[in-house]
């Protein structure tokens, strides 16, 4: 007490080092805290930027859909869809021809010429079937032209409006007044299109008659298997014919003034099954093919990487000798040092080729999807992505296994368990959530990977054909990351396409965020349960 009173300053911090009035401790705190703040700010900026660029998309997409309706494209598409379905049927016929040809040349050995000759009757049938659509085709091409013209007028008007606004922004009111804007009178423009309804009815009826007539002349095929296919074809055609009245009703009920709900701008993106850009007709921004592509590729990658990564982790952590550990660990971790573009290049130059060659080996033809001809596909990309995911999964799973207290292992051994029993019954279950989160983080790594999928996934923007069963993995796809990388460089800044790519980016961002969040939750729960 006495001392305190005698020297009232004894509590004052006496440290000498001061920087901008901050003590040394403060400096250290500011330095580390500052780094944390910077990363948070950067994350915030990225999110903000993504949102700002992407948010305009939905408005533009709605406008896009409104024009689609008002310019009559939607109307024409009803008839086009009918025509497209017919095309699908003719494709079925060509496939059937190929099968017959193969049968003729292989099972009932004939020369190519003889085989072709034997198919003359079938070819005749197929040709007639193809021609039945003719009345519809003429109508569609007329309508397409008309609807396109309306759309063009509308686009020109929009361009002019934009031009005027820019001039006004620049303060050139005089020039702005000179820009001529011709408003589009949709009601008047659509009259000729709607006027073709009687013509459509006639064409459709003629088409239906033609189909009925041709169907009656369908040839019988040589084997039960081929005949079954022919029967299925007939069934499909009957179903197709039964759908005609529905198309007519659709056309009759169609009304260009029907409003496009705001939600459709969103749903047509999230649930849209078509991603079609720079089209002469109508652009579609449906993300499903890309999401499905990304997921399929990731799924294949995980199916390969999980056993490899987790297996290697179990081996290294539980079974390997120290010397083996010293060798294997750096090797696997080294994989992550390979630039992904190199992997992609390797995929194109070697792996794709090798896998295709493998698929064509005759005694492997029982594998679903083998043989296939597309060198770049889900499988090729998945294999390479697996390589990218393995180090992540391995390292994190090994960590999780390492965190299993040694005491569990000893207790298990002391009860007379073998090494294998201990691993399977104690070690892996105890670290299971850690392993699951390792797999999830591997998934996050794979979904975000761009270069490999861009180079090796085949880049066909279509939902793969799942009716092919497991063979679906030999089809090419496009991915969310791939499409951004491919198209971002070409699009006009601020255009709907540009914004659509940003929204895809947002989707990807949230997907990765979600995966990471779930993984971390699992890890936390796991830490608690192990204690």
């Amino acid at each position: 007490m006495e001392a305190t009173r005698a020297n009232p300053h004894f509590l004052v911090n006496r440290s000498r080092v001061r920087l901008f009035g901050l003590s040394f401790d403060d400096c250290i705190r500011v330095f580390f805290g500052g780094n944390a703040v910077v990363s948070i700010i950067v994350l915030g900026l990225i999110t903000f930027f993504l949102f700002r660029e992407g948010s305009g998309f939905f408005g533009q997409n709605r406008q896009n859909l409104i024009v689609y309706r008002q310019a009559g494209l939607e109307y024409v598409d009803f008839i086009r869809a009918q025509q497209d379905d017919h095309t699908a049927l003719t494709r079925y016929l060509s496939d059937l021809r190929l099968r017959q040809f193969t049968y003729a040349t292989e099972h009932a050995p004939m020369s190519v010429a003889a085989a072709n000759a034997s198919l003359a009757r079938f070819d005749d049938f197929a040709g007639q079937f193809g021609d039945t659509v003719e009345p519809l085709r003429t109508l569609v091409s007329d309508l397409t032209e008309q609807a396109s013209a309306i759309k063009t007028k509308f686009t020109v008007m929009e361009d002019k409006k934009e031009e005027r606004r820019q001039l006004l922004d620049e303060g050139r009111a005089g020039d702005a007044a000179k820009v001529v804007i011709t408003p589009v009178d949709f009601a008047a423009e659509l009259k000729p299109i709607l006027g073709t309804l009687p013509a459509y009815r006639a064409a459709s009826a003629e088409f239906a008659q033609g189909l009925e007539r041709v169907l009656a002349t369908a040839p019988t095929l040589p084997t039960p298997e081929l005949q079954a296919r022919m029967d299925r074809f007939k069934l499909h055609t009957r179903d197709y014919l039964a759908g005609f009245p529905a198309v007519t009703t659709q056309l009759e009920a169609w009304d260009y003034t029907k409003p496009v709900p705001a939600s459709q701008a969103f749903t047509s993106f999230i649930f849209g099954r078509e991603w079609l850009t720079a089209s002469f007709w109508q652009d579609w921004y449906g993300v499903i093919p890309l999401v499905v592509g990304s997921l399929m590729v990731s799924l294949v990658a995980l199916l390969l990487a999980v056993p490899l990564g987790v297996g290697a982790a179990v081996y290294v952590n539980q079974i390997a000798t120290p010397a083996e550990q010293k060798f294997i660990k750096p090797c696997i971790e080294f994989i992550s040092a390979i630039p992904s573009v190199v992997l992609g290049f390797f995929g194109i130059a070697i792996l794709g080729q090798a896998l295709r060659a493998l698929s064509q080996v005759s005694w492997l033809s029982w594998v679903p999807g083998f043989p296939y001809s597309e060198r770049l596909n889900i499988l090729t990309a998945g294999c390479l992505l697996a390589l990218i995911a393995v180090p992540t999964i391995f390292t994190l799973a090994e960590d999780a296994l390492n965190n299993v207290p040694r005491a569990f292992k000893e207790a298990s051994f002391a009860l007379g368990a073998t090494r294998l029993q201990t691993v399977i019954k104690i070690i892996v279950p105890a670290s299971l959530s850690g392993i699951i989160s390792a797999v999830l983080l591997g998934l996050g790594r794979v979904i975000g990977e761009t270069m490999v999928v861009l180079l090796c996934a085949g880049n066909r923007i279509a939902i793969p054909d799942f009716t092919a069963g497991l063979a679906v993995i030999t089809q090419p796809v496009h991915t969310m990351t791939g499409i951004i990388a491919q198209e971002m460089g070409e699009v006009v800044q601020g255009s709907i396409h540009y914004r659509a790519l940003f929204v895809v980016g947002m989707l990807l961002f949230f997907l990765s965020l979600g995966i990471n969040y779930v993984a971390q939750r699992i890890v936390r729960r796991y830490r608690i349960s192990i204690g």
Binding site: P405, A407, A411, F413, L415, G416, I426, P429, A430
Partner: protein, 290 residues
């Protein structure tokens, strides 16, 4: 000589010195006491030298552990008690570079370090309870049945029976019978340790090794485990490592004192604590060093 070690002044009812079964230094001279059967050697440790890599942890240790008796290993930290204990079920095999350079350990005449000995079978016969309780992160039920399931027992009725019997044997049944499906990690420290004992006795081993089983427990939990040891002594041969002199005095029939990897003295517990033959032993048990 110290005639009354302070430890023996403890008058708790569990294990006063008077309840000790009359054992003598040599089996041949077994007296006409309550359980007068001549002490039968179960484990014969014969001139063992043990090495961790290049460091020698045991020097020429020889002792005979008797069947159905409690044998305590005492000695200062680092003297090799755990090492010797872990030799008895070959847990040291899990550590790289360990070896017995000289001597042998025989259980019922079988040298357990021979190559043709089935370690798995050995560990079924020689169970172990660790210093830190280590139930598996599984349910209580799964913890107890683990050893049996390893042996291929999957009959539900049989497993149920063993679970109850083992938990009763470990004096834990009444506390957990309503939550057999709860995680073993959710029990208190003392309960966890008794669960580990139950897990060890579930496979009906012949020997149970306990490495400082009470060192992490409070006095009440310790007393329970000690009571348990008293009950188990009739069915199992128990080897217990302890730093607690009172515990050794209360629970064990025979005590071995180790110092710096050497066996200094091995005799009846009562003799070790009342009239130790060796000055170092005396100094240690009377608390003057260690």
């Amino acid at each position: 000589m110290v005639t009354t070690a302070p430890i023996l002044m403890d008058t708790r009812p569990v294990a006063p010195a008077s309840t000790f079964r009359p054992t003598t230094t040599t089996p041949a001279a077994a007296g006409p006491g309550a359980q007068a059967a001549p002490a039968e050697t179960l484990i014969d440790i014969d001139h063992v030298d043990f090495f961790y890599g290049a460091t020698q942890a045991l020097h020429d240790v020889s002792l005979r552990i008797e069947n159905r008796k409690v044998t305590a290993f005492i000695g200062p930290s680092g003297c090799g008690k755990s090492t010797l204990l872990r030799c008895l079920n070959r847990m040291n095999d899990l550590i790289d570079g360990t070896r017995i350079a000289k001597g042998s350990i025989r259980i019922r005449g079988v040298d357990i370090h021979q190559h043709d000995v089935d370690v798995i079978e050995l560990r079924k016969q020689v169970g172990m309870v660790f210093q830190k309780s280590n139930p598996f992160p599984k349910s209580i039920y799964e913890n107890i049945t683990y050893g049996l399931r390893l042996q291929g027992v999957n009959n539900k009725a049989r497993l149920d029976e063993v679970v109850e019997k083992s938990l009763r044997g470990a004096a834990l049944w009444d506390e957990v019978k309503d939550r057999l499906d709860a995680s073993g990690l959710g029990l208190s420290g003392g309960q966890q340790q008794r669960l580990c004992i139950a897990r060890a006795i579930a496979v009906e081993p012949e020997v149970i090794l306990m490495d400082e089983p009470c060192s992490a427990l409070d006095p009440v939990a310790t007393a329970k485990v000690e009571e348990l040891i008293q009950e188990l002594r009739t069915r199992f041969t128990i080897v217990i490592v302890t730093h607690n002199m009172q515990q050794a005095a209360r629970c064990s029939d025979k005590t071995a004192f180790f110092y710096m990897g050497k066996l200094i003295e091995y005799a009846d517990t009562r003799d070790i604590f009342t009239k130790p033959a060796n000055a170092q032993t005396e100094a240690y048990v009377s608390g003057r060093f260690g």
